[in-house]
Structure formats: structure tokens, C-alpha cells
Symmetry: none
Subunit: 533 residues, 2 copies
């Protein structure tokens, strides 16, 4: 029997930005869009072109995506203006995109109070706006804001709004539980009723997590007939978040009652990237991943209880609802770590480093990685540091140079004309090939000054690092209070277009940064085949 | 019409302890039990007396609780021994408690593989153990481990286990989704079927969050007839956590489709303590509360978008699914670059700062906030810095002290015995009341050294900041490359239990940190009513 297709609509870049503390740069948005496309979602809602400089630039720089339709968000045309006479709407129509998702009020109370227009004017705005999009080559979608509250207040009107969009050719009419307070039974009842007016294969469901039911509400919507699902990576979103696609995707693919009936655009191979995709977002947000997140959390398949642990080692199915590898996650049984060695081997293979399964140095490397990760290192995001560590353990890496000492000073004082200024200055003493060089550098901060001094003169190696450039620098404090450890991640690149990531960890941010900078330089020297001293 | 009673069974102190990284002391457990009792739950499962020293001591020190039955957890008697001949079971029977909850396997596969006994021996252990408890003055309960998987593998046997307990007088037969992988529809179907054998007013539902459906699964259990609900505060628990009572309680009380039919032991006045109870647990766990937690999270009623914000100030019901005060939480209309004047007014009201809508200084404040946010400040996460800025713009804040200059030095060098060490040292020159003080401090990094020096001597203000403690320190690099700006967020607290957040922004991490530290000190001085110089 052929399965019914369900469509995934991701709004991490639009509704996710409503989250307190979330603010994506253009580069962030491009990287997230790429990650979502690789994951296999059907729609990526990029943002609101024209509303702010980042979103405008995002659509001006629209990339080609393999799987996803890149979608612009905006409002229906203003009442009292024609479509062609509304400059905001025209900007939206001209945005580079594959689909346009309009938001419209469908709760009569909001139409009256917030928009101050009549129900008919609002209906008219929906119809004309959807029609105008349909006349371009873009796919039209309508987000029905406050649909469930609207339905309860004035059922006829809410349905009329949905039907107006459908009648004018909206590919999807999306029912939004904007306040997030509706419970699964009510969602199911109302969506079932709407499906009598708009067929399910044109209905979408958009829920929020204010009662901790966003995932269940999405599943209720599907049961009632909706065939498009809106959500975000890691459940990012205003207040308590949007429906979490990171939980919904594996549930749809791995739970027989759903997987037997439905199919989505994500392949099993793409599903294995789910944990990675989730971590990429947290990395961009510079926040610690939620250890307890369903499917992708570090503890999602971790067992503490002794009896559970030994049962799991006997037969994982006894205490695991799915095989963690299907979502790219790992089993963690606190008594033993069978997976470790095979992980490392896979990682070495990926980096092109040859190692035999029986090489005892592999155990040394595994132990070293584990002990470093226990103190705060994170090699998942620092390939180049991992490669250096592996090459040093499994073979030979020349000691190109030695750092004898450094000193960094930051001083705030009044300058000659009485202004308060801050000066950062660093000196570094390096030994290269028996020669000793003392360099000094200034910077806009202590790390920048240290980096400047360190890269000023590496003697015979200087030519190799001339095109090394620092692209990004991230700091995370790992534990609060006085025991805090600082982890620094540095992203570097060179003129040839290579990019690499290194990591440093220390209670002292200057030490941690210095370690990551040293790794970056050493990696570059190996990469470019610098000769041993 | 009289409402049906639902019973709340909290297992924070028992199943919650399975969480990775969670380890309660006796004092912790006593405080949590007190908090739960004050909240109005019906059962508090304290732990497994005899299994470890803390749990044993907890039952030896049993307190009197106003609302809750204090419950011991343990296993059914061992097969091959009589009840009176099993010392472990006898210890349990003798524990000081009001109820005893036994766990038993109800999945034939586990009975065979994990216990290595026959199905009949297991049934017999259930019957005899429940009967033995019933013969004391304790209430007997049975947790049916892996019930849903067991039901799917061998329905007759799983039902026989549940019925055996009920027939022997178990007050509650609790159906546990131990692996956490069952979806709401399946829960509802299976619980409905069990309710034909064990009446719903003797059925409990115990779910886990592995598919992010623990709350929905609990509601599905209730729909199918179960009248006891098991869960934990803040959804604490193994892997992805248990069903979150912090979300379930307000949903049961505030959502008409449930509140009209059911009543629980929590009064509206107790419900107003929900946010407090949730924070108490996080405090004991020494972790930052989840800002996005439904109902109780700091962001659960927070709005960032400008249009939403002005709508909320007009009529909160437009974007809020419940009144936040009902659960002891607060509305937050955020100051952020998406917001406008109405956001600021709402925020000032919350902070208790009087301002008239027409005060022109409000425009100054708004412009200042916007221009600072454009350079990287984020006031949504830094209440105390916002309050300082607002009070400085709208009124008067004394200049308690002035920092004349500071110098921070980080040096890595070889020490007397040839080891490479890093030293961080800072000097700060402060003017207080015409006096000039020069202080020096050391630290494990430059910021720590600077903080130590700054707080060493503030003259007449020193007494006010003696109990100021730095709880957390976060760093975010806002733009990549050489134009990078550093944003530092500092969380502080004092002995009175107050917590506040401050922010600093600069290209120089030392400057940014210094600014946030200064804000924290000034906030503390204002808060505690320090006199002007």
C-alpha cells in the first residue's frame, strides 16, 4: 500500500528568531538553512524580506537548495490598498524565493481590535494576496494566526478565512495555535472539522509548547488530516518554543503506527544526521545542548541504574525505545564504553588518517580523548585539534616551534587629553630552529594582542602562516562559580579556502585561547607541508 | 455536577534521582518533600529505604505531611521465599511511611530473561506482596514496569499482573511506560482496555518523555480512565525525564476541558506557588532554570515582537493562554530591538519604576536602549543593567564610586622548578568619597583577578557588597573576524537570595566584563539602599 506524504515546514529562521536571546547573523542563517536542506525538510522559511537588514540580505543571497523550497514570510496586503499599490507587499512578491507564506488574522476579535478593519476587508485581503502570489511562479501559503481561538470565538469566520485562501489556490492553509494553549483533543476535533472545508492534503498544523503538548498537538493535527507540519529545530521559538521537529521527524519515521502510514522527505541516511543538525544549531546559538532532549540529547540513551545498565548490555531493546544510531546518537551506559573505539576509527577514516584496528596506540588515543573531554574539551566541533591529537598519538608531528613565555597586559587609564582608554599589549617569546624571537603586538583585546604577537615572527615558518586568518572565536564557560573552566573554539581559514576549527580549555581564558591559536597554526603548517625544523 | 478526583503522585525523590548528575542529600530530600507537600500533591515517593544510606535516613526521619502520603518504594518479595522469609521485603514493610509502592515486571520477556523465574512465580510474588502490605496500615500500590511493551508482547499476562494486584487490594495499579517510547493514541487504547479489568479509579499512569509526549501520554491515560498521575517536578528523570507535573498540574486546573470534569488536591492558592516550587528544585540542583519551561519558565509569558507587545499591553488575553499570575509567574514584555515604547513601559511597571507615558525621558531611554542594542547589548537577559540604565535616565542614581584606572596582566613563564605556569594579576584604583584606594588581586584568569581587586576595598560601601557572589559568567562573541564585539553576561546573587543579571559590551573582553561587574555592584548598592557619597 502506498504511503501518504507528509510535508515538513521548518520555521527556525523565522518563528525561531522570536526566542528570547536569539539573534542570527546572515552567516548563521545561511549555515542553518544548509543544515536543514541536508536534513531533508520540504520548506525552509528564511525570514521576512524587507523587515530587517539580515532577512533582506538573506533573500538577496538566496542559495540553491536540493530538497527545500526557500520560503519568504510576510503579511497579506493592507486593507484599503490594492495588491499593486502596497509597496510592502510588492517587495515580498519580488523577493527571491520558491514560496511565500503569508500570515493573516482569522480571529474576528483580532481583526477588529488589532487591525481595526471589517471581517470582509480582512477576507478580501487574504483572497487578493493569495491570488497575487499564485500569479507569480511562487507557491502561496497562508498561516492562519490564532486559528483555534478564532474558531472557538467565531467558527464561521475562521473557516471562511481558511476557505478563502484555499479557494484562491493556497497550496497550504496552516492552522496556527499562536497562544500555544490548546490541548490535543481540541486540536484534533477542530482540525477534523476544518478538513471538511479544506482538504487535509492542503492543511498544515503549527503549534507551540505552552502546555508541553506541541509535539502531541502536531500528531493530533496529523490524525485529523493535516499533511503539513510546521516546527523548528530543537523546538526553538517564542515563549516555550515551537513544535520540535527534532522530536517529530524521528517519531514519524521510526514509530510503526506513523511510519506504516506516512512518509516524509527525510531518508534514513539523513535521519542519521539529526543529532548533528541539532548540535549545529546549539553551536551557532553558543549554548550547551539540552542533555535530556528526546532522541538527540546526550542523556537520551544514557542509563545510570545498575540493573538497567546490565540489561541494556544484554539486550538494548529491553530499555531503549529505538536504536540510538538511527538518529546519529549514541548509547551511554555508565559502566562500559564499547562504542568508543569504533567511533574513533570512523572519525580517523573520515579524516584520511590510516590506523589499524589492533594498533595499541588507538587505545592510548581513546583514553586521551576521553580524559580531555572529561575536563571540558569538545572535539565534535574542533576537527583540526582532534586531527593534531590523533597524528601526534599515532605518528609524528614535528615540533615546528616552541613558545618560551608570553605576557599580556590590559590597561585602562586616562590618556594625554583626559579620555579613558583601554590598551591591550602582548609579548611572546618563541624558539624556532635554535633562534629566539621576541615579538610584541597590540590588539583591541588581550586575545587579539596575543594572536598578533604570536603570528608576527615565526622565522622560517612565517611564510606558511601569512594567509592564515581568524574567522570566528567562541567562548563558553563550562561550569559556574569559582571552578569555572573556559572552552575556546577558534575558526580559521586561508586563502586557498580551507577552514578549520581548533579548541583550547583552561580556567584561564588567555591560556585556553592561546592553546586554540597554537593548534590552528600547527594545523596550517602540517596541512601546507611545512618542513620539520 | 460533582467533579471526579484525580490524584497526583510525585516521584521526584525516587525516579528523579535516576537523572544523570542528580544526587540528593538527606537535607535536599527533606526540603523537596516539604515543597511538594506545600504544593498539595497526594503522594510523595521518598525513595527506597534500605537501598542506600540517604533513603534509609529519610524514612527514619519521616516528617508529618499535611497533604501527602509519604510513600516508600521497593520490589515485590523474591520468588522462592515467603513474604516473612525475605529480609529485604520485611525491611520495606517496617519502613516509616503511609504507603508502599512496589515495582514488578509485567512483560513476560523480562520475567524470563531478567528475573529468570516463571510467569506464575512472578504473579504469585505480586499477589503475596500486595496482600502483605494490605495487612499493615499502609496503602499498597503496584508499579507495572514496562506495562505497554508487555501488553503488546503478551496481553493476557500483562493484564493478569495488573488484575492480581487489584484483586489483592492494591489501591493503585500504575501502568508504566518504562522505555518512554509509546505514543498517545496507543496509551489511550491500552489504558482503555485495562480499565475493563481494573477500574479507572484504581489505575495510575506513569510516562517518560522519550518522544516528547510524556505530558500528552498522561492526558491520554486520564482520557482512558486512569485517575492517578505519576510524574516529577520539572520533569526530572532518567534519559529525557518523567512526565512533568509542573506542566500537568496547571493544565488540569486551568484548561476548561479538564478543570470542568476533574479536581485535584491543589488549591488555586497553592497553584500560585508552582513557579516557586520549580525554582526551589533548580536551586537545590544548582542549575539555571529552563527559561522556556511551560507555565513556570522566565520566558513562558515573555514577548519580543513589537506588534505582539503592544497587543499584550492592550489586552493580555490576545497573546497569553493563561494569566501568568495564576501559576506565580510574570508577564515579561521584552526590551529588544524588535520592541517599542510599550515594551519599555511594561518592563518599567514590572520593575516597579514609575513613569508616565508622556514623559519625554521615556523617548530618551528608548533611543538609548535601541542604540546600545545595535552595538551588541542585550537587555532582555540583563534586568539589572536595564534597571540601572532606566533609573539613570528617568531619575537619579548616586555615583557611589569612580574607577580611575585598572591594569590586568596575564603572564606565562617557567617557574623556579622549570614548570610552565600562568599568573593573572590585576590592580584597580578607585575613588570613594574623595578617598583613593589602590587594590591588587590575583585570580585563575584575568577577569577573576580584576573582580577580586575591584571588590577588595570600596571603602564605606564595602559592607554592602560583602555578600555579593558571582554565580555565572557568560561570553558571546557577536560578530566574527576583527570587528568582533564581546558581550559578557554576569549573574550575581546575595545572601538574601536575590539574583540579578548584568551585561557589558566591548571589543575588549576585559572592558566588557568590567562593565558588567560594575553594574552588578551598583545594582546591589541601590537595592540595599546604600547612601549617596
Amino acid at each position: 500500500m502506498s504511503k501518504e506524504r507528509l510535508y515538513l515546514f521548518d520555521t527556525t529562521l523565522r518563528d525561531g528568531v522570536q526566542t528570547i536571546g536569539v539573534d542570527f547573523s546572515l552567516e548563521d542563517k545561511l549555515l542553518i538553512a544548509e543544515t536543514l536542506d541536508a536534513l531533508g525538510v520540504d520548506y525552509i522559511e528564511g525570514g521576512y524580506p524587507g523587515a530587517n537588514p539580515v532577512d533582506t540580505a538573506l533573500f538577496e543571497n538566496k542559495r540553491l537548495y536540493k530538497n527545500a523550497k526557500f520560503t519568504a514570510f510576510g503579511m497579506t496586503k493592507r486593507a484599503g490598498r490594492s495588491v499593486s499599490n502596497d509597496p510592502g507587499f510588492q517587495d515580498l512578491l519580488n523577493a527571491e524565493c520558491d514560496a511565500i507564506c503569508l500570515v493573516a488574522k482569522t480571529w474576528d476579535y483580532h481583526v477588529r481590535v488589532a487591525l481595526g478593519i471589517s471581517n470582509e476587508e480582512n477576507l478580501d485581503a487574504i483572497s487578493q494576496s493569495i491570488r497575487a502570489i499564485g500569479e507569480t511562479d511562487r507557491e502561496p501559503l497562508l498561516d492562519c494566526e490564532h486559528f483555534f481561538d478564532g474558531y472557538k470565538a467565531d467558527k464561521e469566520y475562521a473557516l471562511a478565512c481558511a476557505k478563502a485562501a484555499y479557494d484562491e489556490g493556497a497550496r497550504w492553509v496552516v492552522l496556527c495555535d499562536t497562544n500555544g494553549g490548546t490541548l490535543p483533543t481540541e486540536i484534533e476535533d477542530i482540525v477534523s472539522d476544518v478538513a471538511k472545508v479544506v482538504p487535509g492534503d492542503h492543511l498544515g498544523i503549527h503549534t507551540h509548547n505552552d502546555t508541553e503538548n506541541a509535539v502531541a498537538n502536531t500528531l493530533a493535527g496529523i490524525r485529523a488530516g493535516a499533511r503539513q507540519v510546521q516546527g523548528t529545530l530543537n523546538g526553538l521559538g517564542e515563549r516555550c518554543g515551537n513544535a520540535n521537529l527534532t522530536s517529530i521527524i524521528p517519531t514519524l519515521m521510526l514509530k510503526p503506527e506513523l511510519a506504516d502510514r506516512f512518509e516524509i522527505g527525510v531518508t534514513p541516511a539523513q535521519l542519521r544526521n539529526l543529532t548533528h543538525a541539532s548540535r549545529v544549531l546549539d553551536e551557532i546559538l553558543n549554548r550547551a545542548p539540552d542533555r535530556h532532549a528526546p532522541y538527540v540529547g546526550e542523556s537520551a540513551f544514557a542509563t545510570k541504574a545498575g540493573i538497567h545498565a546490565s540489561a541494556i548490555l544484554k539486550d538494548p531493546a529491553t530499555y531503549e525505545h529505538i536504536d540510538p544510531e538511527l538518529v546519529g546518537n549514541q548509547r551511554r551506559v555508565l559502566v562500559s564504553n564499547q562504542g568508543g573505539k569504533s567511533n574513533i576509527l570512523g572519525e580517523l577514516e573520515r579524516l584520511g588518517i590510516k590506523a589499524s584496528k589492533d594498533d595499541p596506540r588507538l587505545d592510548t588515543l581513546l583514553a586521551e580523548v576521553k580524559s580531555r573531554e572529561a575536563t571540558g574539551y569538545a572535539y565534535e566541533g574542533a576537527d583540526a585539534s582532534f586531527e593534531l591529537l590523533a597524528r601526534r598519538t599515532l605518528g609524528n608531528v614535528p615540533r615546528f616551534f616552541e613558545v618560551d613565555s608570553f605576557r599580556v597586559m590590559v590597561e585602562r587609564r586616562h590618556n594625554a587629553v583626559g579620555e579613558l582608554v583601554t590598551i591591550s599589549e602582548a609579548t611572546v617569546k618563541v624558539h624556532v630552529n635554535g633562534e629566539s624571537m621576541l615579538s610584541v603586538g597590540e590588539g583591541n583585546g588581550p586575545i587579539n594582542a596575543l594572536d598578533t604577537a604570536l603570528r608576527k615572527d615565526l622565522g622560517k615558518y612565517q611564510a606558511f602562516i601569512e594567509d592564515l586568518e581568524l574567522v570566528d572565536y567562541k567562548v563558553r564557560i563550562l561550569t559556574g562559580g569559582s571552578d569555572a573552566v573556559t572552552r575556546v573554539l577558534v575558526e580559521s581559514r586561508d586563502r586557498a579556502g580551507a577552514r578549520w576549527f581548533t579548541v583550547g580549555v583552561s580556567p584561564n581564558i588567555v591560556d585556553a585561547s592561546f592553546e586554540a591559536l597554537l593548534d590552528s597554526i600547527n594545523y596550517k603548517l602540517i596541512r601546507d607541508g611545512a618542513p620539520a625544523p
